[in-house]
Protein backbone atom coordinates (compact mmCIF):
# COMPACT_ATOMS: atom_id res chain seq x y z
CA UNK A 1 0.00 0.00 0.00
CA UNK A 2 1.28 3.50 -0.74
CA UNK A 3 0.08 7.05 -0.19
CA UNK A 4 0.80 10.36 -1.91
CA UNK A 5 3.04 12.86 -0.05
CA UNK A 6 1.10 15.25 2.13
CA UNK A 7 1.22 18.92 1.16
CA UNK A 8 1.84 21.10 4.18
CA UNK A 9 0.16 24.52 4.34
CA UNK A 10 1.25 26.62 7.31
CA UNK A 11 -0.91 29.70 7.90
CA UNK A 12 0.88 32.37 9.92
CA UNK A 13 -1.36 33.34 12.80
CA UNK A 14 1.01 35.83 14.33
CA UNK A 15 -0.88 38.96 15.36
CA UNK A 16 -0.01 40.98 12.24
CA UNK A 17 -0.95 38.26 9.76
CA UNK A 18 -4.08 37.40 11.73
CA UNK A 19 -5.22 41.02 11.60
CA UNK A 20 -4.45 41.36 7.91
CA UNK A 21 -6.31 38.30 6.66
CA UNK A 22 -5.02 35.05 8.17
CA UNK A 23 -8.28 34.55 10.06
CA UNK A 24 -10.03 33.96 6.74
CA UNK A 25 -7.29 31.57 5.60
CA UNK A 26 -7.91 29.35 8.60
CA UNK A 27 -11.19 28.42 6.97
CA UNK A 28 -9.01 26.25 4.72
CA UNK A 29 -8.42 24.01 7.74
CA UNK A 30 -12.08 23.79 8.74
CA UNK A 31 -13.57 23.69 5.28
CA UNK A 32 -10.94 22.49 2.77
CA UNK A 33 -11.75 21.84 -0.90
CA UNK A 34 -12.98 18.25 -1.30
CA UNK A 35 -9.97 17.32 -3.46
CA UNK A 36 -7.61 18.15 -0.59
CA UNK A 37 -8.98 15.34 1.56
CA UNK A 38 -6.07 13.28 2.86
CA UNK A 39 -3.59 15.17 0.64
CA UNK A 40 -3.23 18.56 2.31
CA UNK A 41 -2.55 19.41 5.91
CA UNK A 42 -3.40 22.99 6.98
CA UNK A 43 -1.98 24.21 10.28
CA UNK A 44 -1.84 27.53 12.15
CA UNK A 45 1.62 28.65 13.22
CA UNK A 46 2.96 31.51 15.36
CA UNK A 47 4.64 34.53 13.69
CA UNK A 48 6.97 33.40 10.92
CA UNK A 49 9.14 36.50 11.41
CA UNK A 50 8.41 37.57 7.87
CA UNK A 51 6.54 40.70 8.98
CA UNK A 52 9.53 42.71 10.21
CA UNK A 53 9.97 46.31 9.11
CA UNK A 54 7.85 47.32 6.16
CA UNK A 55 7.43 43.69 5.13
CA UNK A 56 4.29 43.60 7.22
CA UNK A 57 2.51 44.92 4.12
CA UNK A 58 3.04 41.42 2.70
CA UNK A 59 0.95 39.84 5.48
CA UNK A 60 -0.71 37.42 5.66
CA UNK A 61 2.09 34.96 5.04
CA UNK A 62 1.60 31.28 4.28
CA UNK A 63 4.23 28.59 3.82
CA UNK A 64 3.40 25.85 1.35
CA UNK A 65 5.77 22.90 1.55
CA UNK A 66 8.34 25.29 2.98
CA UNK A 67 7.96 28.04 0.34
CA UNK A 68 6.88 31.40 1.72
CA UNK A 69 3.92 33.10 0.05
CA UNK A 70 3.13 36.75 0.82
CA UNK A 71 -0.19 38.53 0.38
CA UNK A 72 -1.92 35.18 0.73
CA UNK A 73 -5.60 34.89 -0.06
CA UNK A 74 -7.73 31.78 -0.07
CA UNK A 75 -7.75 31.77 -3.87
CA UNK A 76 -4.00 32.14 -4.14
CA UNK A 77 -3.33 29.35 -1.66
CA UNK A 78 -5.79 27.06 -3.43
CA UNK A 79 -4.15 27.80 -6.80
CA UNK A 80 -0.65 27.04 -5.47
CA UNK A 81 -1.74 23.86 -3.72
CA UNK A 82 -3.74 22.67 -6.71
CA UNK A 83 -0.72 23.28 -8.95
CA UNK A 84 1.42 21.09 -6.67
CA UNK A 85 -1.30 18.45 -6.65
CA UNK A 86 -1.49 18.49 -10.43
CA UNK A 87 2.23 17.65 -10.75
CA UNK A 88 3.12 13.98 -10.78
CA UNK A 89 3.69 13.11 -7.12
CA UNK A 90 6.44 10.83 -5.87
CA UNK A 91 4.83 7.82 -4.22
CA UNK A 92 5.98 6.74 -0.82
CA UNK A 93 5.30 3.52 0.94
CA UNK A 94 2.97 3.70 3.94
CA UNK A 95 5.42 1.52 5.93
CA UNK A 96 8.27 3.99 5.48
Amino acid sequence: MSEKCMIKVEVCCGTTCFLLGARELLALADDPPAAWQGRVEVIATPCMDACNGNRFSGSPYVRINGTLLSGATRDLVEQRVNAIMAKPQPERSAEQ
Partner: protein, 471 residues
Protein backbone atom coordinates in the same frame (compact mmCIF):
# COMPACT_ATOMS: atom_id res chain seq x y z
CA UNK B 1 -14.51 39.06 6.48
CA UNK B 2 -11.42 40.98 5.42
CA UNK B 3 -11.75 43.52 2.60
CA UNK B 4 -9.80 46.50 1.27
CA UNK B 5 -11.34 48.92 3.76
CA UNK B 6 -10.58 46.78 6.81
CA UNK B 7 -7.11 45.96 5.61
CA UNK B 8 -6.21 49.61 4.99
CA UNK B 9 -7.59 50.62 8.39
CA UNK B 10 -5.55 47.99 10.21
CA UNK B 11 -2.43 48.58 8.16
CA UNK B 12 -2.53 52.29 8.91
CA UNK B 13 -2.95 51.62 12.63
CA UNK B 14 0.06 49.29 12.66
CA UNK B 15 2.17 51.70 10.61
CA UNK B 16 1.31 54.65 12.83
CA UNK B 17 2.02 52.74 16.03
CA UNK B 18 5.28 51.29 14.78
CA UNK B 19 6.45 54.72 13.88
CA UNK B 20 5.38 56.08 17.28
CA UNK B 21 7.15 53.27 19.11
CA UNK B 22 10.29 53.78 17.04
CA UNK B 23 10.27 57.44 18.11
CA UNK B 24 10.20 58.64 14.50
CA UNK B 25 6.55 59.57 14.19
CA UNK B 26 7.17 63.34 14.01
CA UNK B 27 9.27 62.85 10.90
CA UNK B 28 7.26 59.97 9.44
CA UNK B 29 3.63 60.87 9.80
CA UNK B 30 3.33 63.32 6.91
CA UNK B 31 5.16 60.93 4.61
CA UNK B 32 2.82 57.99 5.13
CA UNK B 33 0.27 58.99 2.44
CA UNK B 34 3.02 59.22 -0.22
CA UNK B 35 4.68 56.02 0.97
CA UNK B 36 1.41 54.13 0.67
CA UNK B 37 0.43 55.66 -2.66
CA UNK B 38 3.55 56.44 -4.76
CA UNK B 39 2.61 58.20 -7.99
CA UNK B 40 3.37 55.20 -10.21
CA UNK B 41 1.15 52.86 -8.22
CA UNK B 42 -2.33 52.09 -9.53
CA UNK B 43 -4.76 54.29 -7.63
CA UNK B 44 -8.06 53.28 -6.12
CA UNK B 45 -9.71 56.64 -6.85
CA UNK B 46 -9.24 59.02 -9.74
CA UNK B 47 -5.54 59.59 -9.06
CA UNK B 48 -2.85 58.91 -6.43
CA UNK B 49 -3.22 62.45 -5.10
CA UNK B 50 -6.81 61.84 -4.05
CA UNK B 51 -5.82 58.49 -2.56
CA UNK B 52 -3.17 60.31 -0.53
CA UNK B 53 -5.61 62.98 0.63
CA UNK B 54 -7.96 60.29 1.87
CA UNK B 55 -5.14 58.47 3.66
CA UNK B 56 -4.32 61.76 5.36
CA UNK B 57 -7.91 62.06 6.59
CA UNK B 58 -7.86 58.48 7.80
CA UNK B 59 -4.74 59.26 9.79
CA UNK B 60 -6.40 62.38 11.17
CA UNK B 61 -9.28 60.24 12.45
CA UNK B 62 -6.75 57.87 14.02
CA UNK B 63 -5.47 60.95 15.82
CA UNK B 64 -9.00 61.71 17.00
CA UNK B 65 -9.67 64.60 14.60
CA UNK B 66 -12.78 65.05 12.45
CA UNK B 67 -12.93 65.93 8.76
CA UNK B 68 -15.83 68.27 9.49
CA UNK B 69 -13.67 70.35 11.85
CA UNK B 70 -10.83 70.92 9.41
CA UNK B 71 -10.07 74.64 9.11
CA UNK B 72 -6.83 74.58 7.18
CA UNK B 73 -6.31 71.95 4.48
CA UNK B 74 -2.57 72.52 4.48
CA UNK B 75 -2.21 71.75 8.19
CA UNK B 76 0.31 68.93 8.52
CA UNK B 77 -0.47 65.68 10.31
CA UNK B 78 2.37 66.49 12.70
CA UNK B 79 0.22 69.27 14.16
CA UNK B 80 -2.76 66.95 14.56
CA UNK B 81 -0.45 64.51 16.31
CA UNK B 82 0.58 67.21 18.76
CA UNK B 83 -3.11 68.01 19.46
CA UNK B 84 -3.91 64.34 19.93
CA UNK B 85 -1.14 63.78 22.45
CA UNK B 86 -2.18 66.87 24.40
CA UNK B 87 -5.82 65.74 24.61
CA UNK B 88 -7.12 64.47 27.90
CA UNK B 89 -10.63 63.55 26.83
CA UNK B 90 -12.21 61.61 24.02
CA UNK B 91 -13.98 63.45 21.20
CA UNK B 92 -17.66 64.07 21.94
CA UNK B 93 -18.67 62.51 18.61
CA UNK B 94 -17.10 59.12 17.99
CA UNK B 95 -17.58 59.17 14.19
CA UNK B 96 -16.60 61.47 11.37
CA UNK B 97 -17.52 61.35 7.68
CA UNK B 98 -14.59 62.04 5.40
CA UNK B 99 -16.35 64.07 2.72
CA UNK B 100 -13.35 63.78 0.41
CA UNK B 101 -13.66 59.99 0.53
CA UNK B 102 -17.45 59.86 0.19
CA UNK B 103 -18.41 58.69 -3.26
CA UNK B 104 -21.83 60.33 -3.11
CA UNK B 105 -23.48 57.02 -4.05
CA UNK B 106 -26.59 57.42 -6.17
CA UNK B 107 -29.89 57.21 -4.35
CA UNK B 108 -32.07 54.10 -4.61
CA UNK B 109 -32.76 54.30 -8.34
CA UNK B 110 -34.03 51.30 -10.28
CA UNK B 111 -31.84 50.34 -13.20
CA UNK B 112 -32.09 47.79 -16.01
CA UNK B 113 -29.09 45.51 -16.36
CA UNK B 114 -27.73 43.49 -19.28
CA UNK B 115 -29.80 40.52 -18.11
CA UNK B 116 -32.90 42.11 -19.75
CA UNK B 117 -34.08 39.91 -22.63
CA UNK B 118 -36.81 42.27 -23.89
CA UNK B 119 -39.23 39.40 -23.34
CA UNK B 120 -42.71 39.12 -24.79
CA UNK B 121 -44.51 39.23 -21.43
CA UNK B 122 -42.91 42.51 -20.34
CA UNK B 123 -44.53 42.55 -16.88
CA UNK B 124 -42.45 45.63 -16.07
CA UNK B 125 -44.21 47.82 -18.66
CA UNK B 126 -47.67 46.38 -18.00
CA UNK B 127 -47.46 46.94 -14.25
CA UNK B 128 -45.51 50.17 -13.92
CA UNK B 129 -47.99 52.58 -12.30
CA UNK B 130 -46.37 55.61 -13.95
CA UNK B 131 -45.60 54.14 -17.38
CA UNK B 132 -41.95 54.91 -16.79
CA UNK B 133 -40.68 51.87 -18.72
CA UNK B 134 -40.27 51.75 -22.47
CA UNK B 135 -38.34 49.45 -24.83
CA UNK B 136 -35.54 50.60 -27.07
CA UNK B 137 -32.85 48.56 -28.80
CA UNK B 138 -34.29 45.31 -27.44
CA UNK B 139 -34.00 46.43 -23.85
CA UNK B 140 -36.15 48.06 -21.18
CA UNK B 141 -35.40 51.66 -20.22
CA UNK B 142 -36.60 53.42 -17.09
CA UNK B 143 -37.44 57.09 -17.34
CA UNK B 144 -35.94 58.27 -14.04
CA UNK B 145 -38.09 61.42 -13.98
CA UNK B 146 -41.29 59.42 -14.19
CA UNK B 147 -40.18 56.55 -11.91
CA UNK B 148 -41.66 56.68 -8.41
CA UNK B 149 -39.33 54.02 -7.03
CA UNK B 150 -42.15 51.59 -6.18
CA UNK B 151 -40.02 48.57 -7.12
CA UNK B 152 -42.81 46.64 -8.93
CA UNK B 153 -40.68 46.13 -12.05
CA UNK B 154 -37.87 44.60 -10.02
CA UNK B 155 -40.31 42.33 -8.23
CA UNK B 156 -41.92 41.08 -11.45
CA UNK B 157 -38.96 40.73 -13.83
CA UNK B 158 -38.57 36.99 -14.61
CA UNK B 159 -34.84 37.50 -15.33
CA UNK B 160 -34.03 39.56 -12.19
CA UNK B 161 -32.75 42.09 -14.68
CA UNK B 162 -33.77 45.14 -12.68
CA UNK B 163 -31.73 46.23 -9.69
CA UNK B 164 -31.96 49.03 -7.21
CA UNK B 165 -28.88 51.12 -6.57
CA UNK B 166 -28.41 51.47 -2.84
CA UNK B 167 -26.57 54.01 -0.73
CA UNK B 168 -24.87 51.56 1.64
CA UNK B 169 -24.57 53.88 4.63
CA UNK B 170 -28.19 55.08 4.37
CA UNK B 171 -29.37 51.52 3.84
CA UNK B 172 -27.47 50.32 6.91
CA UNK B 173 -28.55 53.09 9.29
CA UNK B 174 -31.61 51.87 11.21
CA UNK B 175 -32.67 55.37 12.25
CA UNK B 176 -32.16 57.50 9.13
CA UNK B 177 -29.35 59.46 10.77
CA UNK B 178 -27.09 59.59 7.72
CA UNK B 179 -28.08 61.46 4.59
CA UNK B 180 -26.36 63.23 1.75
CA UNK B 181 -26.18 67.00 2.12
CA UNK B 182 -26.66 69.58 -0.62
CA UNK B 183 -23.11 68.91 -1.83
CA UNK B 184 -23.94 65.21 -2.27
CA UNK B 185 -21.71 64.16 0.61
CA UNK B 186 -22.92 61.92 3.44
CA UNK B 187 -23.50 63.67 6.72
CA UNK B 188 -24.41 62.23 10.13
CA UNK B 189 -27.16 63.90 12.09
CA UNK B 190 -25.86 63.36 15.61
CA UNK B 191 -29.19 64.31 17.14
CA UNK B 192 -30.55 61.10 15.57
CA UNK B 193 -27.41 58.90 15.52
CA UNK B 194 -27.38 55.97 17.96
CA UNK B 195 -23.65 55.22 17.45
CA UNK B 196 -24.35 51.63 16.39
CA UNK B 197 -21.56 51.85 13.79
CA UNK B 198 -23.58 50.18 11.04
CA UNK B 199 -22.74 52.97 8.56
CA UNK B 200 -19.05 52.68 9.50
CA UNK B 201 -19.12 48.96 8.72
CA UNK B 202 -21.20 49.38 5.55
CA UNK B 203 -19.39 52.14 3.64
CA UNK B 204 -17.36 50.48 0.85
CA UNK B 205 -15.33 53.69 0.38
CA UNK B 206 -14.27 53.85 4.04
CA UNK B 207 -15.59 57.38 4.23
CA UNK B 208 -17.00 56.87 7.70
CA UNK B 209 -14.28 56.81 10.27
CA UNK B 210 -13.98 56.19 13.97
CA UNK B 211 -12.24 58.94 15.94
CA UNK B 212 -9.62 56.99 17.77
CA UNK B 213 -7.96 57.36 21.17
CA UNK B 214 -5.23 54.92 20.21
CA UNK B 215 -2.33 57.37 20.32
CA UNK B 216 -3.31 58.55 23.79
CA UNK B 217 -3.32 54.98 25.04
CA UNK B 218 0.02 54.07 23.54
CA UNK B 219 1.51 57.37 24.72
CA UNK B 220 0.34 56.67 28.28
CA UNK B 221 1.83 53.18 28.07
CA UNK B 222 5.15 54.51 26.79
CA UNK B 223 5.31 57.14 29.53
CA UNK B 224 4.88 54.44 32.13
CA UNK B 225 1.42 55.56 33.26
CA UNK B 226 -0.41 52.76 35.01
CA UNK B 227 -3.13 51.50 32.65
CA UNK B 228 -5.69 48.86 33.54
CA UNK B 229 -7.46 47.10 30.67
CA UNK B 230 -11.09 46.07 30.95
CA UNK B 231 -11.69 43.43 28.32
CA UNK B 232 -15.21 42.90 26.98
CA UNK B 233 -16.66 39.37 27.06
CA UNK B 234 -16.70 39.33 23.27
CA UNK B 235 -12.88 39.04 23.32
CA UNK B 236 -13.17 35.25 23.32
CA UNK B 237 -12.40 34.01 19.84
CA UNK B 238 -11.27 37.39 18.51
CA UNK B 239 -7.58 36.50 18.51
CA UNK B 240 -5.74 33.25 17.93
CA UNK B 241 -4.98 31.46 21.19
CA UNK B 242 -6.90 31.40 24.45
CA UNK B 243 -8.32 34.31 26.41
CA UNK B 244 -5.56 33.70 28.99
CA UNK B 245 -2.93 34.09 26.26
CA UNK B 246 -4.58 37.29 25.10
CA UNK B 247 -4.40 38.69 28.63
CA UNK B 248 -0.74 37.67 28.85
CA UNK B 249 -0.11 39.47 25.56
CA UNK B 250 -1.71 42.60 27.00
CA UNK B 251 0.49 42.37 30.09
CA UNK B 252 3.46 42.07 27.72
CA UNK B 253 2.21 45.26 26.05
CA UNK B 254 2.63 46.98 29.46
CA UNK B 255 -0.93 47.07 30.74
CA UNK B 256 -0.60 46.93 34.54
CA UNK B 257 -3.61 44.70 35.00
CA UNK B 258 -6.26 43.06 32.86
CA UNK B 259 -9.79 42.61 34.17
CA UNK B 260 -12.58 40.65 32.52
CA UNK B 261 -15.63 42.83 31.96
CA UNK B 262 -17.55 39.57 32.41
CA UNK B 263 -16.89 39.98 36.18
CA UNK B 264 -18.89 43.22 35.85
CA UNK B 265 -21.50 41.26 33.87
CA UNK B 266 -21.97 39.01 36.91
CA UNK B 267 -22.87 42.13 38.92
CA UNK B 268 -25.14 43.41 36.15
CA UNK B 269 -26.93 40.03 36.15
CA UNK B 270 -27.50 40.05 39.92
CA UNK B 271 -28.75 43.65 39.94
CA UNK B 272 -30.88 43.25 36.82
CA UNK B 273 -32.56 40.16 38.29
CA UNK B 274 -33.22 42.06 41.54
CA UNK B 275 -34.56 45.03 39.58
CA UNK B 276 -36.84 42.72 37.60
CA UNK B 277 -38.28 41.30 40.83
CA UNK B 278 -38.80 44.75 42.32
CA UNK B 279 -40.39 46.21 39.22
CA UNK B 280 -42.71 43.24 38.70
CA UNK B 281 -43.68 43.36 42.39
CA UNK B 282 -44.51 47.06 41.93
CA UNK B 283 -46.80 46.18 39.02
CA UNK B 284 -44.61 47.07 36.05
CA UNK B 285 -45.38 45.15 32.88
CA UNK B 286 -41.93 45.20 31.31
CA UNK B 287 -38.22 45.52 32.01
CA UNK B 288 -35.66 45.84 29.25
CA UNK B 289 -31.90 45.38 29.40
CA UNK B 290 -29.66 48.43 29.44
CA UNK B 291 -26.21 47.08 28.67
CA UNK B 292 -26.24 47.90 24.93
CA UNK B 293 -25.57 51.65 24.69
CA UNK B 294 -26.74 51.83 21.05
CA UNK B 295 -30.11 50.41 22.10
CA UNK B 296 -30.43 52.90 24.97
CA UNK B 297 -29.65 55.71 22.55
CA UNK B 298 -32.18 54.33 20.02
CA UNK B 299 -34.84 54.28 22.72
CA UNK B 300 -34.09 57.83 23.88
CA UNK B 301 -34.06 59.25 20.37
CA UNK B 302 -36.54 57.11 18.44
CA UNK B 303 -38.77 55.00 20.70
CA UNK B 304 -39.69 57.20 23.63
CA UNK B 305 -42.44 54.90 24.87
CA UNK B 306 -39.94 52.25 25.93
CA UNK B 307 -37.65 54.55 27.93
CA UNK B 308 -39.45 54.11 31.30
CA UNK B 309 -38.99 50.35 30.99
CA UNK B 310 -35.21 50.39 30.54
CA UNK B 311 -33.38 48.92 33.49
CA UNK B 312 -31.41 51.32 35.70
CA UNK B 313 -28.78 48.67 36.31
CA UNK B 314 -25.29 49.83 35.29
CA UNK B 315 -23.65 48.03 32.38
CA UNK B 316 -20.91 45.42 32.85
CA UNK B 317 -18.38 48.03 31.68
CA UNK B 318 -19.36 50.41 34.48
CA UNK B 319 -19.28 47.70 37.16
CA UNK B 320 -15.92 46.45 35.90
CA UNK B 321 -14.58 50.04 36.04
CA UNK B 322 -15.73 50.25 39.67
CA UNK B 323 -13.78 47.07 40.48
CA UNK B 324 -10.72 48.40 38.66
CA UNK B 325 -10.85 51.77 40.48
CA UNK B 326 -11.06 50.08 43.87
CA UNK B 327 -8.14 47.81 43.03
CA UNK B 328 -6.01 50.44 41.26
CA UNK B 329 -7.05 53.93 42.41
CA UNK B 330 -4.04 55.54 40.72
CA UNK B 331 -4.49 53.90 37.29
CA UNK B 332 -6.14 55.04 34.08
CA UNK B 333 -8.85 52.67 32.87
CA UNK B 334 -9.11 51.48 29.27
CA UNK B 335 -12.18 49.62 28.06
CA UNK B 336 -11.44 47.29 25.16
CA UNK B 337 -14.29 45.98 23.04
CA UNK B 338 -15.89 45.75 19.59
CA UNK B 339 -18.28 48.66 20.02
CA UNK B 340 -18.43 52.28 18.87
CA UNK B 341 -21.38 53.15 21.10
CA UNK B 342 -19.26 52.36 24.18
CA UNK B 343 -17.30 55.51 23.37
CA UNK B 344 -20.54 57.42 23.76
CA UNK B 345 -21.52 55.56 26.93
CA UNK B 346 -18.14 56.42 28.46
CA UNK B 347 -18.65 60.07 27.55
CA UNK B 348 -21.97 60.02 29.44
CA UNK B 349 -20.12 58.89 32.59
CA UNK B 350 -17.18 61.26 32.87
CA UNK B 351 -14.31 60.13 35.05
CA UNK B 352 -15.25 56.44 34.95
CA UNK B 353 -13.45 55.23 31.83
CA UNK B 354 -10.35 57.08 30.70
CA UNK B 355 -9.93 55.62 27.23
CA UNK B 356 -11.78 53.32 24.87
CA UNK B 357 -9.98 50.95 22.52
CA UNK B 358 -11.41 48.63 19.89
CA UNK B 359 -10.30 45.03 19.38
CA UNK B 360 -8.82 46.11 16.07
CA UNK B 361 -6.78 48.78 17.82
CA UNK B 362 -5.63 46.30 20.45
CA UNK B 363 -4.58 43.94 17.66
CA UNK B 364 -2.67 46.76 15.96
CA UNK B 365 -0.90 47.63 19.23
CA UNK B 366 0.16 44.00 19.76
CA UNK B 367 1.25 43.72 16.13
CA UNK B 368 3.24 46.96 16.33
CA UNK B 369 4.95 45.75 19.49
CA UNK B 370 5.67 42.36 17.87
CA UNK B 371 3.65 40.48 20.50
CA UNK B 372 2.37 37.16 19.25
CA UNK B 373 -0.78 36.11 21.15
CA UNK B 374 -0.40 32.46 20.20
CA UNK B 375 3.09 32.24 21.68
CA UNK B 376 2.14 33.66 25.09
CA UNK B 377 1.90 31.58 28.26
CA UNK B 378 -1.48 31.38 30.00
CA UNK B 379 -2.22 34.44 32.15
CA UNK B 380 -2.91 33.43 35.74
CA UNK B 381 -6.51 34.62 36.07
CA UNK B 382 -7.31 35.34 39.70
CA UNK B 383 -10.91 34.25 39.19
CA UNK B 384 -12.37 33.43 35.79
CA UNK B 385 -15.81 34.95 35.28
CA UNK B 386 -18.90 32.74 35.26
CA UNK B 387 -19.70 31.20 31.88
CA UNK B 388 -23.14 32.84 31.88
CA UNK B 389 -21.50 36.26 32.31
CA UNK B 390 -19.07 35.57 29.48
CA UNK B 391 -22.09 34.77 27.30
CA UNK B 392 -23.33 38.36 27.63
CA UNK B 393 -21.58 38.99 24.34
CA UNK B 394 -23.99 36.86 22.36
CA UNK B 395 -27.63 37.37 21.68
CA UNK B 396 -29.89 35.84 24.40
CA UNK B 397 -26.90 35.74 26.75
CA UNK B 398 -28.23 38.43 29.10
CA UNK B 399 -31.68 36.81 29.24
CA UNK B 400 -30.18 33.41 30.01
CA UNK B 401 -28.00 34.86 32.77
CA UNK B 402 -30.90 36.78 34.38
CA UNK B 403 -33.19 33.75 34.17
CA UNK B 404 -30.51 31.61 35.79
CA UNK B 405 -30.07 34.19 38.54
CA UNK B 406 -33.81 34.36 39.17
CA UNK B 407 -34.07 30.59 39.29
CA UNK B 408 -31.01 30.33 41.57
CA UNK B 409 -32.69 32.61 44.08
CA UNK B 410 -35.87 30.58 43.90
CA UNK B 411 -36.10 27.72 46.38
CA UNK B 412 -38.28 24.71 45.72
CA UNK B 413 -40.46 25.34 48.76
CA UNK B 414 -41.00 28.95 47.72
CA UNK B 415 -43.84 28.29 45.32
CA UNK B 416 -44.71 31.90 44.65
CA UNK B 417 -41.15 32.89 43.85
CA UNK B 418 -40.71 29.86 41.67
CA UNK B 419 -43.84 30.78 39.77
CA UNK B 420 -42.54 34.29 39.38
CA UNK B 421 -39.29 33.05 37.91
CA UNK B 422 -41.08 30.72 35.57
CA UNK B 423 -43.43 33.52 34.57
CA UNK B 424 -40.62 35.48 32.95
CA UNK B 425 -41.66 36.03 29.38
CA UNK B 426 -38.35 36.73 27.74
CA UNK B 427 -38.20 38.40 24.34
CA UNK B 428 -35.13 39.32 22.33
CA UNK B 429 -34.49 41.93 19.69
CA UNK B 430 -31.43 40.58 17.91
CA UNK B 431 -30.10 43.54 15.95
CA UNK B 432 -31.52 47.03 15.64
CA UNK B 433 -33.17 47.64 12.29
CA UNK B 434 -35.74 50.11 11.03
CA UNK B 435 -38.35 47.48 11.82
CA UNK B 436 -37.11 46.71 15.30
CA UNK B 437 -37.06 50.41 16.23
CA UNK B 438 -40.81 50.38 15.50
CA UNK B 439 -41.15 47.21 17.60
CA UNK B 440 -39.44 48.95 20.51
CA UNK B 441 -42.10 51.63 20.46
CA UNK B 442 -44.81 48.95 20.37
CA UNK B 443 -43.24 47.15 23.35
CA UNK B 444 -43.24 50.46 25.18
CA UNK B 445 -46.93 50.98 24.40
CA UNK B 446 -47.74 47.48 25.66
CA UNK B 447 -48.79 46.27 22.21
CA UNK B 448 -46.34 43.38 22.11
CA UNK B 449 -46.18 40.58 24.68
CA UNK B 450 -43.31 39.82 27.07
CA UNK B 451 -42.13 41.18 30.39
CA UNK B 452 -38.36 40.92 29.96
CA UNK B 453 -36.89 42.29 26.75
CA UNK B 454 -33.25 41.96 25.76
CA UNK B 455 -32.07 44.30 23.01
CA UNK B 456 -28.79 44.00 21.15
CA UNK B 457 -27.97 46.53 18.44
CA UNK B 458 -25.69 44.09 16.61
CA UNK B 459 -27.23 40.91 15.20
CA UNK B 460 -25.90 37.97 17.18
CA UNK B 461 -24.74 40.29 19.97
CA UNK B 462 -21.51 42.16 20.76
CA UNK B 463 -19.47 39.36 19.16
CA UNK B 464 -20.45 40.95 15.86
CA UNK B 465 -19.75 44.53 16.86
CA UNK B 466 -18.49 46.90 14.15
CA UNK B 467 -14.90 46.87 15.46
CA UNK B 468 -14.60 43.17 16.17
CA UNK B 469 -11.99 41.14 14.36
CA UNK B 470 -14.47 38.48 13.40
CA UNK B 471 -16.59 40.76 11.19
Amino acid sequence: MINGVIRMRRELMIRLLRSYLAGTIDDDIDKIPCQLRPRDMASTRCCPYKDRAIIKYRLMALLGAAWEDEQDESRPLRDYLRDALAAHARPARPLTVCGTGCSGCEDGKYQVTDACRACFARPCTYNCPTQAISFRSQRAHIDQDACKNCGKCMELCPFHAITRAVVPCEEACPVGAIRKNAAGVAEIDFTACIFCGKCFAACPFAAILERSELLNIVDDLQRGRKLVALVAPSAAGQFPGSIGQLFAAMAAADFSDVIEVAIGAEMTTAHEAAEYRERMAAGARLLTTSCCPAYVEAAKKHAHAIVPFISNTPSPMLYAAQIAREKHPDAAIVFIGPCIAKRHEATLHPGVIDWIMSFEELGALLAAKGIDVMSQPEWPMPRPAAASARHFARSCGVTEAVLKELAANTHDHDVEAKAEAVAVQGRVIDGITTKSVKQLQLYGLGKLPGNFLEVMACPGGCNNGPCSLSC
